[in-house]
């Protein structure tokens, strides 16, 4: 009779629990399977009892619990963490709309279709290529620490959708959760480059470059840090600190952008007779919408990087992220007002982004005051950096190099100064890490973009640049009203 089995099970549970106690007492690391089963039984007890009592609907829930295997005791926490992961992925997705509108807003209307097209392409190829090769390259498991190419993702629910355990509480998501969150990150690097090369880059060449960047370079470099590669051994084994990717996402994108801009050269008419002739962005509302959406999406970028719904972690990260962004804006406003004589909206917008990039490396280890200082300094840096790059004729229409590259470095270094958790991150360790990432991105881009330049070319013709890439590449205008319409 089954009743006996049930009672037996309960008895075994009880008995084994004591054994468990003794195991723990002897501090043996070997796992006693029976003890584990008994512990799990404890977690399943209420649902099992309900089911046994005839509460049919408990079956489905029990199925979920059981699928969770040995980690059933933490199933609800796992569920909420996983929910946060996918919501954070959706927020990071929003950043791509932010990038698209910011880039369009800060450039001329004759290139707007081209910019929107590039951004649609980037997010699409980013997600697909991350499935095809990126994810398993980014997280190769055991590898040489430098490079290992992965294959297409398979059924990431093969384990019953239960991967809670594999990183402890720090990775409370299923394989698909991990995938989709990281996939949304992957396209970011290419988007950063897109802004810097806007208004003159040849569409086809950019698409090839962007594909290689997100499919190969980004996950390979990322694996050094997040995939368990050599960067983890830095700082005297203490690891290199880059919470959500100031280096492996932002500085990576910023340095790739720098390389591309060097190869590509400035837009026609930008530097004439040694003087800078600004080329104004065509829509400040679009640019502002872009930055607000980026700010919003960053709550997912940083907040999701807590890798669980741990309340103390999520709360801290939201707070430091928002404070740094706000401080960045105030700093840029102040600096532009004092040094440039006018309160410049585009600088205020870049200040927000600067603060966000600056806090990305360290959002989980700084105090509120620390985050304000980090953001404020980033907001100061970005203004001078933009002016500096313009002075040396690096033409970057949206300020991507300064925002993501320079402030990315700052964020990484700030880990050494503002850490309140005493984790011992050192200036040198942080510097080595961010330089490694930056140099890798730069070299990859110089080589790949350079090859594209000498083969199919990377720049549109001067005529096409003058006329605008919308007509030239797409045969379409962004605001075509009136022409040829029956209006």
């Amino acid at each position: 009779m089954k009743i006996k089995k049930y009672l037996l099970a309960l008895l075994i549970s009880g008995a084994t629990l004591m054994g468990v106690g003794s195991l723990s007492a002897q501090e043996e690391s070997a796992v006693d399977e029976a003890a584990v089963a008994a512990a799990t039984e404890l977690a399943l007890a209420p649902a099992k009892a309900a089911l046994a009592a005839g509460n049919d609907q408990a079956e489905a829930y029990l199925g979920l619990l059981e699928a969770q295997g040995d980690y059933a005791y933490a199933f609800d926490f796992f569920t909420v963490s996983m929910l946060w992961t996918v919501i954070a992925a959706a927020l990071v997705f929003v950043m791509h709309l932010g990038f698209a509108t910011l880039e369009a807003g800060l450039t001329q209307s004759k290139n707007t279709v081209n910019i929107m097209f590039k951004n649609v392409f980037i997010i699409s190829i980013g997600i697909i290529s991350y499935a095809v090769i990126g994810f398993n390259t980014h997280y190769p498991g055991d590898f040489n620490g430098w490079i290992s190419f992965g294959s297409m993702i398979g059924d990431l629910n093969a384990d019953g959708g239960n991967t809670f355990g594999y990183g402890g509480v720090g990775l409370a998501m299923t394989g698909y959760g991990d995938f989709i969150f990281q996939a949304m990150f992957a396209a970011t690097a290419a988007t950063i480059v897109s802004g810097a090369v806007a208004e003159r880059v040849k569409l086809g060449s950019f698409m090839i470059f962007a594909t290689l960047l997100v499919a190969i370079a980004y996950p390979v470099v990322g694996s050094w840090h997040w995939g368990g590669g050599w960067l983890g051994g830095l700082n005297g084994g203490n690891g290199f600190k880059d919470f959500a990717g100031s280096a492996v996402v932002h500085a990576f994108g910023g340095f790739a952008a720098l390389a591309c801009v060097i190869i590509l050269g400035p837009r026609a008419g930008k530097y004439v007779d040694g003087k800078i002739r600004p080329i104004l962005g065509h829509s400040m509302p679009l640019a502002t919408i872009g930055v607000f959406l980026l700010f919003l999406g960053w709550f997912g970028f940083n907040g999701g990087s807590v890798l669980s719904a741990d309340p103390s972690g999520v709360g801290l990260v939201f707070t430091t992220t928002a404070l740094a962004a706000s401080a960045g804006a105030l700093a840029s406003i102040l600096i532009s007002w004092v040094f440039l004589k006018k309160p410049d909206l585009s600088m205020a917008l870049n200040g927000i982004l600067a603060g966000l990039v600056g806090i990305t490396a360290n959002a989980d280890i700084v105090s509120p005051m620390g985050s304000i200082i980090i953001g404020f300094i980033a907001g100061v840096i970005v203004v001078f950096s933009i002016i500096f790059f313009d002075k040396i004729k690096i033409d970057d229409p949206v300020g991507a190099i300064s925002v993501h590259g320079v402030c990315g470095i700052w964020g990484i270094l700030a880990c050494a100064f503002f850490d309140v958790t005493d984790s011992g991150f050192t200036f040198i360790g942080q510097l080595i890490g961010v330089l490694a990432v930056g140099v890798a991105a730069f070299l990859f881009s110089i080589i790949v973009f350079g090859i594209l330049k000498v083969t199919i070319g990377v720049r549109v013709s001067p005529e096409e640049e003058a006329e605008g890439l919308d007509i030239g590449e797409h045969g379409a205008e962004a605001y075509p009203d009136f022409a040829n319409s029956s209006r």
Partner: protein
């Protein structure tokens, strides 16, 4: 007939329109334009680089009037559009040989 072509400051459009109505002008065509003139030199900064905003927003008002009305039209515009500050704009008078009202095929002064 004459084409009175005036370039004015945008915010003066309403007053100019009323001034013209007062002298019986019933039709005009208005275009948003950018003006380049003495009113320049206001240097702005965009993302850290100085530049001169050469082209300022203006409005162009075009009115075709009977020969006899050209002067008073000009005067009315000048009066209404004046702020006394640089950049107030200009009024040009250009000869017109014919005018046709599309709706009625009327031509000449009746077409206006």
């Amino acid at each position: 007939m004459k084409l009175v072509k005036a370039v004015i400051k945008p915010f003066k459009l309403e007053e100019v329109k009323e001034a013209l109505a007062d002298i019986g002008i019933e039709g005009m065509t208005v275009t948003e334009v950018k003006g380049f003139g003495r009113q320049k030199g206001h240097t702005e900064i965009y993302r850290g680089s100085e530049y001169t905003v050469d082209f300022l927003p203006k409005v162009m008002v075009e009115i075709v009037v009977d020969d006899a009305d050209a002067d008073k039209t000009t005067e009315a515009i000048v009066k209404a559009a004046k702020t006394g500050k640089i950049g107030d704009g200009k009024v040009f008078v250009i000869p017109v040989e014919s005018a046709t009202r599309i709706r009625t095929d009327e031509t000449g002064p009746e077409a206006l």
